[in-house]
Subunit: 112 residues, 2 copies
DNA sequence: ATTAAATACCTAATTTTATTAGGCATATCT
DNA sequence: AGATATGCCTAATAAAATTAGGTATTTAAT
């Protein structure tokens, strides 16, 4: 993910959440969704996305189906049951981490 | 940083912001500040912290001073002028990225 | 008709960043 | 005496993303 060197490690949570919100999607569609959804502030490169998708598929979080549309191949990914549960866990954890990060950024030592 | 595999890449921003908020600090103190500030949800391991501090020092963002307190050595880090500016940039960028991340997590394809 | 841009999949090599797993030393608490 | 806390650090490994490609079809522009 290209965020200018910040906020890495959230890609799998993003993938799972995109699929939770939108049902089956294909890779190229996800890259556009992230760009649009963030108003061009975030970019998921395909080189980051595809390995992440394959890993989630391997670990049973995603199921796939290949379709041909307008002469081109599309590989659709959808959440498995395990993937849905994992998505909920990761989203909750990510939100918690964002909240903690905010707290740390605001933290001041008490002068006692 | 130990966040359970999520939100990496924000360590330098955290360091710069801690120093912005609290003035000079030493490494061990920063690890405690992050733990306390996040209510134990986040942990910066020293193995992550010290290399990050050294890198920021090398690149001129931080200046150091060694003091002896109660028989122990402390290496205090403070922001250089460049470090202050860089801290502002990184904080702004991080906040932008958190906002964008939230937008992406809420994103739904328009069905047209 | 040719070229550029968009669509659609992918991988290999490298770099960046953090984790795991230590080392070393002093001070305080039990 | 031994454990815990304080305080610095590094080396080897792993995880994750970036850089830099490759392949192929379709659509838009020149």
């Amino acid at each position: 993910m290209e965020t200018g060197k910040i906020i890495k490690g959230s890609l799998s949570a993003i993938i799972l959440q995109l699929l939770e919100n939108n049902g089956a999607m294909y890779g190229y569609e996800m890259t556009k969704a992230v760009r649009q959804g963030s108003m061009e502030k975030m970019k998921v490169t395909e080189a980051a996305l595809y390995p992440a998708l394959h890993k989630l598929e391997e670990s049973g979080m995603l199921e796939t189906e290949i379709k041909f549309v307008e002469g081109r191949q599309r590989k659709y990914y959808r959440l498995s049951e395990n993937g849905k549960a994992e998505g909920r866990r990761q989203l909750e954890h990510l939100q918690e981490m964002i909240a903690s990060l905010q707290q740390v950024l605001d933290f001041r030592l008490q002068k006692s």
